[in-house]
């Protein structure tokens, strides 16, 4: 076990843990945002640079600070490491810079984007973005590519986190999609426009932090914050059938995996509970699901603002004064 201090909070974690995961163990405000890291996808992380943190002391053995900001999703903690996230001015500046970079070519079409309301880029720009843009140039755009009748690819919105590429690599048998070209022209695409057809390809939608990959069966049906997220299960031969169904009245509008506070699919019996495309796209009749009850969505404020437990200010003050 090694000791690490993040924003003045000390925690003991196992050796080999990354700074981001150590921060997630503490939870709350000290967790750096992560747009590309996804714990159940091997090799993800390091691309988006939003999780940069300052390492004020490298370790007990070598307490020198690290000259560059480090990506917390791939940097492992050392014993005695002191990390600054919220408390570092440099981190704020550079995270703001990364946010600006991610937004310059982003179409900002939130009003017509299905992801709006549960978009990590919205969260990030709310926390770290500027009020205006300094980008006066014409935005880069891509030719639309049809990747099948279940998933809609909107390349202009993509931030190239590579999560969906890892899904294609690690969850589906025949990988038919990846990244073409390079630099700012790099784009997610399918090889010679081949449709993405695999039992688990729909998980690309769940891992996408922005609105680049959205559910075609849910396209333009409703804003996510008008829906009721409900925990539901069902017997499925291909997957654990452990999902969230998004309901409007008695109708199921869409089905997604159960996501935790960081937008990652929850684990079930030690395995990530990815859902199959049958559950996601074909099973929209409430009779097919065993609906357990409402689901609380923590991080994305607008979706379940009514489910929030508002802390009683009097109570917390009493607790503090008792300490």
């Amino acid at each position: 076990m090694v000791k690490v201090t993040i924003d003045g909070i000390e925690i003991e974690v196992e050796e080999g843990t990354t700074i981001l995961n150590a921060a997630r163990m503490i939870g709350g405000n000290v967790v750096p945002p992560a747009m590309c890291y996804y714990s159940s996808l091997e090799g993800s992380g390091g691309n988006c640079r939003t999780c940069l943190v300052e390492i004020a002391e490298g370790s007990t053995r070598d307490p020198r600070p690290m000259p560059k900001l480090m990506v917390s999703c791939s940097t492992q903690v050392q014993d005695g490491m002191v990390v600054k996230n919220k408390t570092s001015q440099r981190v704020h500046e550079n995270r703001g810079a990364v946010t600006e970079f991610l937004l310059i070519n982003h179409p900002l079409d939130c009003p017509v984007c299905d992801q709006a309301g549960e978009c990590h880029l919205q969260d990030l720009s709310f926390d770290h973005g500027g009020a205006g843009s300094r980008f006066e140039e014409e935005k880069r755009t891509f030719e639309p590519i049809d990747i099948g009748n279940k998933i809609k690819l909107h390349m202009n919105r993509c931030i190239l986190c590579y999560r969906c590429v890892k899904v294609a690599e690690q969850l589906t048998e025949k990988r038919v999609h990846g990244v073409l070209h390079r630099g700012e022209h790099a784009e997610i695409s399918t090889y010679i426009q081949k449709a993405v057809e695999s039992d688990f390809s729909g998980n690309m939608i769940d891992v996408c932090p922005v609105g680049a990959l959205t559910d075609r069966t849910f396209r333009f049906k409703s804003r996510v914050w008008f829906l009721k997220p409900m925990n539901a299960t069902r017997e499925c031969k291909k997957c654990p059938g452990h999902a969230t169904v998004w309901m409007f009245g008695e109708e199921i509008y869409r089905v997604t995996g159960r996501k935790d506070a960081y937008g990652e699919i929850e684990r079930l019996d030690g395995k990530t509970a990815w859902i199959c495309d049958d559950c996601r796209f074909e099973t929209k009749d409430p009779k097919q699901w065993n609906i357990e009850g409402p689901r609380k969505i923590n991080r994305h404020s607008v979706i379940s603002q009514n489910h929030y437990e508002i802390p009683n200010p009097l109570k917390t003050n009493v607790k503090k004064s008792l300490k």
Binding site: G45, G46, N47, C48, R49, T50, L52, P67, K68, L69, V71, S74, E93, N94, A97, V98, E100, F101, L102, I104, N105, R134, F135, E137, R140, I159, L160, Y162, G178, V179, H181, R182, G183, E184, H185, A186
Partner: protein, 447 residues
């Protein structure tokens, strides 16, 4: 004449063939190393020689070798980085074209030192004709028993292969090179783990520049003690410089480290001054990624001393008044040239070559390129200059690999030293469009 260690026999006819190369002292270092030295002796010799990587970063080669992990039962690899794509740098091309056996010899000795039984030369795709030259030389070396099983009866086996790249600058970054060699998309990897621990196919790997590996040959032949006497204290030996731009005699030169920059530009033995009797305006001493130097900082340091051709002297004063030796791409500008336009050209290059993996580089390089393009075409305004300075500050240090830094430094330095020229472009848009940069009349200059 300056001392030549690498290019000594470059003018001998037929030097690219095994027999002529052997007649001129070729493969002696292989004999010496394999017969009389242990692998650790070779590593120590290179360490003691103070050889610094010739590819750009200047990291001590011996130290890099000593970091190589040596777990039991796992193969190790030596990769030669011949993906020379930096604008202004063409020294490796010359060396491989003319002296293929020098590189092969250096690779045999280095592979022996590192215990690598399979080594690759990763060559950029545009150098296809050099690939043929190298493959011919390798076939000769196999036929003469310098490659293959049990080389010179020492029990050391080595296979050497040449792998062409697909023409991406980013594949010159060592982990991108490894990815590309593995047959994947050439995206740089996250570090750590470093290649010395987990490189090609997950095995310990060393990646060295062509010139670094070639320099191992004279180091073994003459011994580290002799080698350190050449050059300066911190920059031992000789360096290939590819001089280009507005010079009377551009070309690839081998210099002893520590000659003065003034002598190199104006000396009869070297570049013989600026072409057409013009004045020098600026210098990029180490390939497009390093900061540009204005006229008053080229031959003299900020302290008034002479600036020398060495790692320490060129970087004297940090980025405020210095630059870097880099890969030795020595680009000279005369008074007619435009630093702004050139900076745009470099920015365009980096925007084109960014791999697109991490956000600051992918988006930032394209943004800088567009802003510079606007300024060059007379559509800029004053706040664009500050915007540029701010963008490159935010790319620098926030990226996975050094390409982000390499894209940011030239822009930062151009604004630092030539801000008035940027302002001139903003204030004189009409004239800026008509400027013809010392080219023939009626050459279109709009871009």
């Amino acid at each position: 004449m300056g001392r030549k260690l690498l290019l000594e026999h470059i003018d001998v006819p037929g030097i690219e063939t095994f027999d002529v190369w052997r007649k001129h002292g070729g493969y002696l270092s292989v004999e010496k190393a394999l017969k009389n030295m242990s692998p650790d002796d070779v590593v120590n010799e290179v360490k003691n020689s103070g050889l610094r990587g010739r590819g750009g970063a200047g990291f001590p080669t011996g130290m890099k070798w000593s970091f190589l992990a040596k777990p039991e039962g796992v193969p190790r690899y030596l990769l030669c980085n011949a993906d020379e794509s930096e604008p202004g740098t063409f020294k490796d091309r010359y060396l491989m074209e003319k002296l293929p056996h020098l590189l092969i010899e250096g690779m045999i000795v280095s592979s022996y030192a590192l215990g690598a039984n399979l080594s690759y030369i990763y060559i950029r795709g545009e150098y296809m004709w050099i690939l043929e030259i190298l493959e011919k030389a390798i076939a000769e070396a196999y036929a003469k028993g310098f490659l293959g099983k049990n080389i010179l009866g020492s029990g050391f086996d080595l296979d050497l292969r040449v792998a062409p790249g697909g023409g991406a600058y980013i594949c010159g970054e060592e982990t991108a090179l490894i990815e590309s060699l593995e047959g994947k998309r050439g995206n740089p990897r996250m570090k750590p783990p470093f290649p010395a621990v987990k490189g090609l196919w997950g095995c310990p790997t060393v990646v060295n520049n062509v010139e670094s590996l070639a320099t191992v040959v004279p180091i073994i032949n003459m011994g580290a003690d002799e080698y350190v006497k050449i050059g300066t204290e911190k920059s031992a030996g000789t360096k290939l410089i590819s001089a280009c731009g507005n010079l009377v005699r551009p070309g690839v030169y081998e210099i002893e480290m520590g000659i003065s920059v003034e002598e190199f530009i104006y000396g009869d033995e070297w570049c013989r001054g600026i072409a057409n009797n013009k004045q020098i305006k600026a210098l990029i001493p180490g390939g497009s990624s390093v900061p540009i130097l204005p006229a008053h900082l080229i031959t003299k340091l900020a302290t008034g001393e002479d600036r020398l051709m060495s790692y320490e002297s060129l970087s004297e004063g940090g980025f405020a008044t210095g630059s870097m030796l880099g890969s030795g791409g020595f680009i000279v500008f005369d008074e007619d040239q435009s630093v702004v336009r050139n900076t745009w050209n470099f920015a365009r290059f980096y925007a084109h070559e960014s791999c697109g993996q991490c956000s600051p580089c992918r988006e930032g390089t394209g943004w800088m390129q567009r802003v510079l393009h606007r300024i060059v075409n007379g559509q800029g305004n004053m706040r664009d200059i500050d915007l540029l300075a701010d963008i490159n500050k935010k790319i620098e240090g926030n990226t996975i690999c050094p390409l982000g830094d390499a894209a940011a430094w030239p822009v930062a330095a151009a604004i630092r030293h030539f801000r008035e020229e940027f302002e001139w472009y903003v204030n004189h848009p009409e004239e800026a469009l008509k400027r013809n940069y010392g080219m023939l009349k009626n050459t279109p200059t709009t871009v």
